[in-house]
């Protein structure tokens, strides 16, 4: 029983991070109908930005609340800029081209970032994973059973990442459904040509959507790095893929769907690791995805658009 509770806690903690990364995929897909394959790698760049900031701050400052906020701020703003640049120079010129071209471009950007960061030239970090500094001092907030060797442990970073994730998601939900900007986003998503005719600055809306998505990715990436205590250039490829799977399971383009998909994926993976074999984790994640898609081709909450001739 206590084992089950522990797995539930771990699964939800992992799931919220997947969900946060998945939100970026979902937002971009909702507005542009583009699977932004480079999203995970933008996240990786954000984690490295946070890493560099943490190193610069020094041991004293990085444990404080201000230090943590600064690290998150630098990473999120930096990633928003990166997202803007990618959208402006790689995706915008292709907006009227077939969707496949943009998908291939996204894969190209993803490769450039993840393998470019593995080079050992100049400021690039090289391929070896590095230890991520403890910007939040780990502490057990809640234990069950023997205090020395507790059966169930709830870590403070698990609570913090859940709170941050819920806050960011609620903010996003508010932004999309309660603000003028959100209404413009939804209009662009519905039909960007008609939206432009109605006087909505389509390009600006898409740019800002990209920037918000990338900033969310940076935040999620930092939470992931705190949990995993390491950074590596390839983390974006794998976390990104998982988050993408989560987004598709929930029905890509759907904000609550991304959350549910992320949580489901986190729980499924955690139970596989806990009760079966940890090496099968990736296979189960993709098997789950294929299963969901075969039953509901548009994801759990997605709708399949009828195709017009």
């Amino acid at each position: 029983m206590s084992q089950l509770i522990q797995h539930l806690i771990n699964g939800i903690a992992a799931g919220t991070i997947y969900a946060l990364v998945a939100l970026g995929y979902t937002m971009v897909y909702g507005v542009l109908k583009l699977i932004n394959f480079a999203h995970g790698d933008v996240m990786m760049v954000g984690v490295y930005m946070g890493y560099a900031t943490a190193l610069m701050l020094g041991r004293q400052a990085r444990g404080s609340v201000g230090g943590v906020l600064l690290i998150f701020l630098v990473a999120m703003v930096g990633c928003a800029l990166l997202g803007f640049l990618i959208e402006r120079f790689a995706y915008r010129p292709l907006r009227e081209k077939p969707r496949l071209t943009a998908l291939i471009t996204a894969i190209g950007i993803s490769f450039t970032l993840s393998y470019g960061f593995q080079l050992d030239i100049g400021f690039l970090p090289g391929s070896a994973p590095r230890a991520f500094p403890q910007i939040i001092k780990p502490a057990q907030w809640f234990t069950l059973g023997d205090p020395e060797f507790p059966d169930v442990v709830l870590w403070n970073w698990q609570v913090i990442s859940l709170l941050v994730a819920v806050a960011l998601m609620a903010g996003l939900q508010f932004l999309v459904y309660r603000t003028r900007f959100g209404r413009a986003m939804r209009a662009v998503s519905f039909d960007h040509r008609v939206a432009a005719l109605m006087g909505i600055p389509t390009d600006r809306i898409i740019s800002v959507t990209f920037m918000i998505g990338s900033a969310l990715a940076a935040g999620a990436g930092l939470l992931y790095a705190i949990k995993d205590t390491s950074v590596s250039p390839l983390m974006g490829l794998y976390v990104g893929l998982k988050a993408f799977v989560a987004a598709v399971i929930g029905g890509i383009g759907n904000v609550p769907g991304a959350m549910v998909g992320g949580l489901l994926l986190g729980l499924v993976e955690e139970f596989v690791v806990g009760y079966a074999a940890s090496t099968w984790r990736d296979a189960v994640a993709f098997g789950f995805l294929i299963l969901v898609l075969l039953v509901r081709p548009g994801g759990l909450f997605g709708r399949v658009a009828a195709e017009k001739v």
């Binding site: 291939i104 894969i107 490769f111 080079l119 050992d120 993709f286 898609l293």
Partner: protein, 345 residues
């Protein structure tokens, strides 16, 4: 066509093979002493085989598949197992070399068959999924194969298979490259190929015109994965060891880059791109070695290769989204004053 009128119909299918075989054997004899050249030619051949086969699905049918390394892995492992089982058997009345090649052929057919079966399984979801969703399912399939292989005792887990007889030869690789090109060309010229192109251009319209879209899509997957499996089998018989690390998402993407660079739908384009992208790192390496001063740069060529591939994809999509040759074949884009081949085969 003028040539086909002279060749009796019964021979038309095998005549190119009969012409190609002696050429390949002479090539094999010439290359007997040069190990590096034959290794490079084998790698090139495997890449051409992969690119040409992926082009049948991605280029001709327009079903964007990014899990090609999975089929290659199925072929590599199953042919490796077959060869390991048959290692000590020989056909007594044949010379050793010939007997080796016969067993290699058996192993390759097993590889192709198993991969074709896998292709059938992956093709089935394409009944319901299209576009981006199908792409992610093929990607997931490739990853699942990798995890299954990593966890199976018979496949050597993460360490991989070693001790597979190194019986592959340039002639054998060349033969399969030749066969795959022949099949791809003949498909694109046939009514099957026209149906595939119709599906690529507009699936709904193709369905409305009476094309059995699901049947053709699954068949394209089966043919494509058969050759990918053979490519994997050949690969397993000239590298010293195969392990799950050789068949990752990255390998799939390398093949996608080849197909996209050559032009989606152009068989000759895929060949040219595969040869070019295989030679490029070698050329870069020897160039850096020649320059001398930056010897570390020469060692880093393999690392630089991947970001360069990424930038290449982006630049290509921005400047020339249809790839170098578009859907045209090599002889359609040669200058006017050269004698041209007419379309069809």
């Amino acid at each position: 066509m003028s040539s086909s009128s002279r060749v009796p119909p019964s021979l038309r299918g095998i005549l190119p093979v009969l012409v190609a075989l002696p050429v390949l054997l002479v090539l094999e004899l010439l290359l007997r002493d040069s190990q590096f050249t034959s290794f490079l030619l084998s790698v090139m051949g495997v890449n051409v085989l992969l690119a040409v086969s992926l082009n049948i699905v991605n280029g001709m049918t327009g079903q964007f598949s990014i899990g090609h390394a999975g089929f290659m892995a199925v072929g590599a492992y199953l042919s490796g197992i077959t060869s390991l089982a048959l290692k000590d058997v020989a056909i007594s009345f044949l010379p050793v070399v010939v007997s080796d090649q016969v067993f290699l052929l058996v192993a390759l057919l097993v590889a192709g068959g198993a991969a074709a079966l896998a292709g059938f399984l992956v093709g089935l979801p394409s009944l319901r999924l299209r576009g981006d969703y199908l792409a992610i399912v093929t990607l997931g399939f490739g990853e699942i194969i990798r995890v299954v292989v990593t966890n199976t005792e018979a496949f050597g887990r993460a360490l991989g298979l070693s001790g597979i007889p190194q019986s592959s030869s340039v002639a054998m690789v060349g033969l399969w490259v030749f066969l795959s090109v022949l099949v791809a060309r003949r498909i694109s010229g046939s009514s099957h190929g026209r149906s595939l192109l119709a599906i690529r251009e507009d699936e709904v319209a193709a369905e409305a015109m009476g094309v059995n879209t699901t049947g053709y899509k699954v068949r394209a997957f089966v043919v494509s994965s058969f050759f990918a499996g053979v490519a994997g089998g050949l690969f397993a018989h000239f590298v010293p060891i195969i392990n799950p690390g050789s068949f990752t998402f990255v390998k799939s993407m390398e093949v996608v880059v080849m197909v996209v660079l050559g032009g989606l739908g152009s068989t000759t384009g895929a060949i040219v791109a595969a040869v070019f992208l295989t030679l490029l790192p070698e050329a870069m390496r020897s160039l850096f070695t020649l320059l001398g001063s930056e010897s570390t740069l020469a060692q880093q060529v393999d690392q630089i290769r991947m970001p360069v591939y990424g930038l290449l994809l982006v630049a290509l999509m921005l400047a020339r989204p249809q790839g170098l040759f578009g859907t045209k074949e090599l002889w359609d884009v040669v200058p006017r004053w050269l004698p041209r081949r007419r379309k069809g085969m």
